[in-house]
Amino acid sequence: MRKIILAFIALSFVSLLFSNNLYFARLKYEGGNWDSQNLAWGELADFLVGISNVRAVREPVILTADSPELFNYPVIFMTGDSAFAEWNHAQIERLKRYFDAGGIIVIDDCTGLKDSGFSKSVKREFAKIFPNDPLSRIKDSNAVFISFFLLPGVCGARQSVPYLEGVEKSGQLAVIFSANDLFGVWEKDKLGNWLKECRPGGETQRLEAQKLSVNIIMYAMVGTYKLDAIHTDYISQKMKALNMKIPGQGR
């Protein structure tokens, strides 16, 4: 038993240093509020480690578009609740290189409102990064909706936009944008109570939003894995039974 405990501690230690761990690398930016949802990440990491083989690290990492470490993190997270300042040319160019190299950004609008100031700022800046590919609705048949859980719909702590938006690059999503305060469903106070009430669906909505968060992270780690034929046959049967759109169709 002692050996098992020691091995577990050793494994946890190695885990902390491991390059294939999931770090919640958060993008800091000028203006607006980059540090919204700062209580979500530890909870989400624990959930991921509990239900899956994802090696998620509780402590977030803070980065800017100029950080030398940016390219060490193939997935970064950006949250906000208000309009933010324009990125300069060097930052835009650096982010272009980041996405060219295979980086993915997950963006969450904490206002949970359609066309908020934050949302407008995001679209303004990403139009500079992807001038020919504006953020557009991610199809229901995308792998992101089947990467771990079967998802009937899209929500967060709010349900203002029933879809995710994104930009696809080389056959995989480079940008995933949620307008529904997706990561807000993970925030807890010190007593362990949920900070945000989920409206209008209550706790059922929270659960669906949590499942979507897991799917997005799983997608960022394994890409379109679930669209392989070996999975789609199996998933199709399940989805047929649930009257959901068959994965891979319409891609």
Binding site: L11, V14, S15, L17, F18, S19, N20, G50, I51, S52, N53, V54, R55, P68, L70, F71, N72, P74, R94, R97, Y98, D100, A101, G102, G103, I146, S147, F148, F149, L150, S170, G171, Q172, K211, M218, A220, M221, V222, G223, T224, Y225, K226, D228, I230, H231, Y234, I235, K238, L242
Partner: protein, 728 residues
């Protein structure tokens, strides 16, 4: 005359003038003699301040140099439906000769190349036997001659031809690049009846046995818009498909696609034939050929990953974008210890079919990848025997990728895979180090990212750091270590191998002892993504799958098609059994020419396992090459390829005038196209002459002693007048 004065000098001059005026008005009339003298001296000095120079230019008018190129290829000798040679001579005799009155004309006869000649010889000659019409080559050589011999003069080139070019380069682009206006005069009968031409036939360079390939045929018609034509595709002489297509209006191409499934490996030769239209006379352009190499069906990869991770995501991207590969992957998204609060209905996880995969399905795959895969949680070690058999007996390959559950730490040291791997494993206590480091690549063909070792070193120097390694006990004798850790050492004392590979039985095995090579894809952000990660891993997977480009012996030519008499450079790359450059082999090249004659040539080492040989491409048609490589009497391998020598084949069939091409040449170079039979022929708008400056001399005046002496004399005279008038 020029002045080089500045503002200070100008101010000085103004001051001097004002002073003189002041003196004049403030003095009495007795000083009237003095003022001009002083003014004169001041004016001289002011004049000098403007730094005047005297320039003398000598020039004369130079006549524009015009090179007239007359096409003497075989197609110009065709007598029916119109004798082009007669038309050409008539055009030259009647009007071109008049050019010499206005221009400095030189005459050339061209087919493959351009040869200087005289007007008289051109008119006398009946030798229209040139085996090709290479307008671009002729233009380039004449342009170079003009640049050399007529520097400074205006230049123009006149081409008299039927425009039936069959050279390799685009003549219109060559004319544009020449920077000299090219005037084209077309001679030959215009196409009156209908004509269909197979403009091109293309197939993917690589096809797979048993898999459908698409062959695209582009057709165009003349006087045939709306007509239906039957197109037949033949593969190695056998009919592979037939389609009917309606032709678009003149000049527009119509594409026809054929699907063909090759059954055998090797080179397949496709030929597209368009059935003649009613009344069509020119049948020569009704067919075209191309070739494609066919290899065995797609390489099937079975990929096991121990957990969701970036190494998988990035490698998946590389493999999925390559049409040669088909990947089936299993990632352990959920571990045996994970607690699941959700019902199975809500999950997309599928059962991991261990037994079926390892006992039944393995032989269907060519490559097995085990990436940080903790086999011991899912199967007994004996089940891995199937992978060992796949490699050693069936010629499959194994790639093991590192991680904290891989190699020794993953308990593989006591499995059948331990013998297969090119590194010796430690037990469960094997060191797994997560400090960042830059892999030190060995000089090896698989590490080649560019065209030279020096350039490779630069590219590798720019690759990002890795940050994990399984420190194996040692690399095994005979294994090729591709990359090492810069400071960590194995138990054997060598720098720890990061990448190692070797051949085992009929198959190949590679160990990548790091699971952070995805960092090469992300890079450092300093430069744009170079794609080197994908290129490198493609190369490694190509080696694992044994596709043709990384056979021990590979033969290739520097181009696919050559002009007649152009030497064909044949290169043979040779690797030893460990895929290191083999520099001490004997390479013999068997050449088969289009006439069926066979002969042998020795290839010489050109560096880093490359042996070269030049074969003169004298006969139009297809040459075949077979390289046989030997070392110490033992055959290392053989490979074959072909090359096409273009030239005379189409000359005999080029009956009509190609006005489109001649117009394009003239248009792109700033010249003009005229039909040789028209009244306006040779009324070319060439500028007749240019003024050339032959000498320009400059003399400075301001520093002339005479000028200073004159000023001094004026001042002395003033002094003398003052003295004699008692004004001092």
């Amino acid at each position: 005359m020029n002045f080089e004065a500045d503002f200070i000098a100008l101010a000085g001059a103004l001051l001097a003038a004002l002073s003189a005026v002041y003196i004049y008005y403030s003095s009495d009339r007795k000083r009237a003699v003095l003022v001009p003298l002083r003014l004169f001296a001041l004016l001289l000095l002011t004049f000098a301040l403007f730094k005047p120079t005297l320039e003398h230019t000598q020039s004369f008018k130079k006549r524009t140099a015009v090179a007239v190129l007359a096409d003497v290829s075989k197609s110009m000798g065709i007598k029916k439906p119109g004798d082009k040679a007669v038309l050409l001579k008539a055009a030259i005799k009647g009007k071109a000769a008049a050019l010499a009155k206005t221009f400095d004309v030189s005459w050339y006869a061209f087919s493959g190349t351009a040869q200087k000649t005289s007007l008289e010889d051109l008119l006398k000659s009946d030798n229209f036997s040139g085996s090709s019409t290479d307008i671009a080559a002729a233009l380039n050589s004449v342009r170079n001659e003009l640049e050399k011999e007529r520097a400074g003069a205006k230049k123009a080139i006149v081409i008299i031809s039927d425009g039936n070019n069959n050279g390799l380069l685009d003549p219109a682009e060559a004319a544009k690049a020449a920077g000299i206006p090219v005037y084209t005069i077309g001679v030959g009968p215009e196409k009156k009846g209908p004509d269909v031409a197979v403009k091109s036939i293309t197939a993917g360079e690589l096809g797979f046995t048993g898999m459908q390939s698409t062959v695209t045929v582009n057709l165009s018609g003349t006087n045939a818009a709306g007509k239906t034509v039957r197109v037949t595709l033949k593969a190695d002489g056998r009919e592979a498909g037939q389609k009917e297509v309606v032709l678009k209006e003149d000049g527009l191409e119509t594409a026809v696609k054929f699907n063909f499934t090759p059954k055998e490996t090797g080179v397949v030769r496709y030929r597209a034939e368009a059935a003649p239209l009613k009344g069509e006379e020119d049948l020569f352009n009704n067919s075209a050929v191309c070739e494609a190499r066919v290899i065995k069906e797609k390489v099937r990869i079975l990929y096991f990953s121990g957990h969701p991770n970036y190494e998988y995501r990035f490698l998946r991207q590389v493999l999925k974008t390559n049409p040669n590969y088909e990947m089936v992957s299993f990632i352990l998204l959920r571990g045996t210890t994970n607690v699941m609060a959700f019902s199975e209905d809500q999950l997309t996880l599928i059962p991991f079919p261990v037994t079926e995969l390892f006992t039944r399905d393995l032989p269907q795959f060519d490559i097995v990848v085990m990436e940080n895969f903790p086999y011991s949680q899912y199967m007994p070690a004996d089940m891995l025997q199937g992978i060992a058999r796949l490699v050693t007996e069936r010629g499959g390959s194994l790639l093991m990728i590192g991680g904290d559950q891989s190699f020794g730490r993953g308990l593989y040291a006591t499995t059948p895979l331990a013998d297969l791997l090119p590194v010796s494993l430690d037990g469960p206590s094997e060191v797994y180090d997560t400090r960042p480091y830059k892999m030190v690549p060995e000089i090896h063909p698989l590490n080649s990212l560019s065209y030279s070792t020096e350039s490779d070193a630069l590219l590798w120097g720019g690759m990002a750091e890795l940050n994990d390694i399984n420190v194996a006990a040692s690399s095994k004798p005979g294994a090729a270590v591709l990359g090492r850790h810069p400071f960590l050492k194995s138990k054997s004392g060598e720098f720890a191998p990061v990448l190692a590979a070797w051949q085992r039985g009929r198959g190949r095995v590679m160990a990548c002892l790091s699971s952070s090579t995805w960092k090469w894809a992300m890079g450092t952000g300093a430069e744009a993504s170079s794609g080197l990660y994908a290129k490198y891993w493609q190369g490694l997977f190509n080696w694992l799958s044994g596709v043709p480009d990384i056979k021990q012996v590979n033969i290739s030519t520097d181009k696919k098609a050559y002009a007649r008499n152009e030497p064909v450079r044949v290169a043979v790359s040779v690797f030893d059994e460990h895929y290191r450059y083999e520099n001490s082999a004997s390479v013999i090249l068997s050449v088969g020419d289009p006439d069926g004659k066979k002969y042998r040539l020795d290839c010489l080492l050109a560096g880093n396992g490359i042996y070269e040989c030049l074969v003169p491409g004298e006969i139009p048609g297809r040459y075949s090459f077979e390289a046989s490589v030997y070392k110490q009497g033992k055959e290392l391998g053989k490979d074959v390829c072909t090359a096409e020598i273009s030239g005379s084949l189409s000359e005999a069939g080029d009956v009509y005038l190609n006005e489109t091409l001649l117009s394009s040449i003239a248009g792109k170079s700033g010249g003009e196209y005229l039909n040789g039979s028209s009244e306006r022929a040779f009324l070319l708008k060439i500028e007749p002459e240019t003024e050339e400056v032959i000498s320009r001399t400059r003399r400075t005046l301001w520093d002339s002693p005479f000028l200073l002496l004159l000023a001094a004399l004026a001042l002395c005279a003033e002094w003398y007048v003052r003295r004699t008038s008692g004004m001092l």
